[in-house]
Amino acid sequence: MADTAVAQRRTTVSQLDQWMVQDQVFRIYDLFANVPRAAQTLMLELQRDNHLEYLTQGLKQLGPSFVVLDANRPWLCYWILHSIALLGEPIDYELENNAIDFLNRCQDPNGGYGGGPGQLPHLATTYAAVNSLVTLGGEEALLSINRTKLHTFLKRMKQPNGAFRMHDAGEIDVRACYTAISVASILNILDDELAKDVGNYILSCQTYEGGIAGEPGSEAHGGYTFCGVATMMLINEANRMDLAGLINWVVSRQGVECGFQGRTNKLVDGCYSFWQGGVFALIKRLHVGVPLTFSDVAGDHDTDSSSEGEDTAENLYGDDDTCGHGGDCSSSSHTKIVGHPEIEPLFHSMALQQYILLCSQVQGGGFRDKPGKARDYYHTCYCLSGLSICQYSWSRDETSAPLPRAVLGPHSNLLEPVHPIYNVVLKQYHQAHEFFSTS
């Protein structure tokens, strides 16, 4: 017993790794604190032109090292196109047509999209392709998706336990559930058969920590937590989760570096700005965790509630498991103060924006995991998505313009709002939603 205690007091690998990252991050914040105000503004500025150049270049040509992503080309499309859309920039006509044509070559004759032309259809690349086409928008892009065949593909991936497989004979996990349900929902082909028991599977993946794991028994993880919560919202079963435990876990993932980590005692990583930060935007849609100045003006913002499943959880601490002792658990966390245009996010939005802009942003364009790492399109997409989540986190919903004080840095940093369940730009979501509800 005594030996154990001694061992636990010795510096461990986890602590050492953590201190090294912390040190690097704090050095950047110290530098920031000590430069003149004008220089600070410059440091916080979103380098729009450089990001756009980095993104556009990738759309046109990638180097030989990208061969390891040769089975993820629709993902490359999505990361880049979504990033450009977040910046509010248009895609030129020719590139847009090229993208539609290319994605169509990734579409399998029997439904779904593969990682490149001729590859097996895969749920993750199907999600990436569909979100890319929704982001491009317009009739040609949206009509290029074979929804009937896609529905057949989704049914083929459906498992008896309610979950989904990634591809024929592929792995079963929470990612597969999210990508399947998200695609079905945005294309308006989500039916009872696809939704059946998927909620049971997600519930079996919520761990003792409160977050959600990739498979039952695994460790709570930011990416899977986003996927699980978003899925539960799409099937209107979010209230079945231990929401109090979920919120406590996700709020605890923001660390002294100001960014989010993916798991307990792991290192900060810019991509979790969206995977963890996005969970707060999802929770906000459940009308929980927003007690202070929450205003409930019914009907003015949930115009699409039927398709995306807005359900409410009036009192997190009111269910049997979390509120044992007889007291009146109906004390409301859902204070109605009509007329307030803003709410306070449960996470520290300013701190997260600081991490994204000062630590993840690469001045020459693109974003990275953390200082010392190289930029890539994945981190660019999820850092920008997280930044947008932050900027609109005070707004009652994504359709109301954020207050200037919600945006860290110059106001030119303001990005387009996203639909947090699908992670596509809100405007594009609305266009697709309308298109597919009538066709």
Binding site: T4, A7, Q8, R9, T12, V13, Q61, L62, G63, P64, F66, V67, D70, A71, R73, L76, C77, N98, D101, F102, R105, G115, G116, P117, G118, L120, H167, D168, A169, T207, Y208, E209, E215, G217, S218, E219, H221, I247, V251, Q254, R263, T264, N265, K266, P291, L292, Y317, G318, D321, T322, C323, G324, H325, C329, S331, S333, E344, P345, L346, H348
Partner: protein, 336 residues
């Protein structure tokens, strides 16, 4: 399979007489593809030959070799892996050798979904013959990266599908002795005590686990992992949580040291929310923590704790304010 290792990795198909009958099929990228990759020539060639055999559905030894070459250049190509499994099945080959091949590729690609999925498929086919080897293999990967998510998932699958639970609790103990901040090891410990058929389940294990966890907390009160684990030990049973004197006692011990009070305060708050009645000792300890929060009456302990946490854990100030505003009425009313 020997040839799979020798020539398979080096000689390009266009140089091999046994591929002379194959007409390579180029990738259908279209005239102006987006995200085009500047492939190297050997990759283009191998993939063109792969496409030819894949479309013919040729499940032959030479096709197997080709999948190996393709996988070495891009281990993320799930279509190639999928085809490889079809070939392995058709040729009825020795799957123990397949594990060797996967192991070599896995060394440099430990975070690749396809490799782990393939390995699970092979192990499933091998059944009990694979148990010891898979436990050993995941141990090796975890000795390099103790938090590798795929390795842990694979290990859990092996335990559940093939068995080998005997040493698992000891393994967790060993990893936690090396690094008490390894949350993956805590998660694995939870997996073992709740699912091992050799142990009696969560309730039977609770007492000894609580002791173990409390020791870990007292050694590092700033370590979030054992605090979460401690809560987990009472999952779905808040009555036991409130009635076990060991939980408030560890909060008390940590709070008296005053160094790292955040997790202890948070745990105490949960206890109160579930009906725990705190005595004066708790009240005094909480009140004595700096900074002082004069706005709350001393009697309202849960609110005081939230206010303290708002200050001490400023990054989560909004969260603690929300908790304060949503305390169950049961404790809001029990102001002595």
């Amino acid at each position: 399979m020997d040839s799979d290792k020798d020539e398979g990795e080096t000689v390009l198909p266009s140089q091999r007489p046994d591929f002379a009958d194959v007409i390579p099929i180029p990738q259908d990228d279209g005239p102006n593809p987006v995200v085009p990759i500047a492939y190297k020539q050997d990759f283009v060639e191998i993939m063109n030959y792969f496409r030819a055999l894949y479309l013919k559905d040729e499940r032959s030894p030479r096709a197997l070799q080709l999948t190996h070459q393709a996988i070495l250049l891009n281990p993320g190509n799930y279509t190639v892996w999928h085809f490889r499994r079809l070939i392995l099945e058709a040729l009825n080959l020795d799957l123990l050798e397949e594990l060797d091949i996967v192991e070599k590729i896995a060394k440099n690609n430990t975070k690749n979904y396809q490799i782990w999925h393939h390995r699970r498929w092979v192990a499933e086919k091998l059944g009990n013959d694979a148990t010891a080897r898979e436990l050993q293999f995941t141990r090796k990967i975890l000795s390099l990266d103790a938090k590798n998510y795929h390795a842990w998932s694979h290990r859990q699958w092996v335990l559940q599908a093939l068995g080998g639970w005997e040493d698992e609790l000891d393994y967790c103990k060993q990893l936690l002795e090396e690094d008490a901040f390894n949350n993956s090891a805590w998660n694995q410990r939870y997996f073992v005590i709740t699912r091992s058929p050799l142990l009696g389940g969560l309730k039977a294990m609770r007492n000894s686990e609580v002791n173990y966890t409390i020791e870990a907390i007292l050694a590092n009160p700033e370590n979030e992992s054992p605090w979460r684990y401690l809560r987990g030990l009472y999952k779905g049973d808040s009555e036991s949580l409130v009635n076990d004197p060991q939980v408030p006692s560890v909060c008390l011990k940590v709070l008296s040291v005053k160094d790292n009070p955040v997790f202890a305060l948070s745990m105490l708050l949960d206890l109160l929310c579930h009906g725990f009645r705190a005595n004066q000792e708790f009240r005094d300890l909480v009140a004595g923590l700096s900074p002082s929060v004069p706005d709350e009456p001393d009697s309202d302990l849960a609110k005081t704790i939230c206010s303290k946490l708002e200050q001490l854990d400023a990054l989560r100030a909004n969260y603690w304010r929300w908790r304060k505003s949503s305390l169950p009425r049961a404790i809001q009313d029990s102001k002595n």
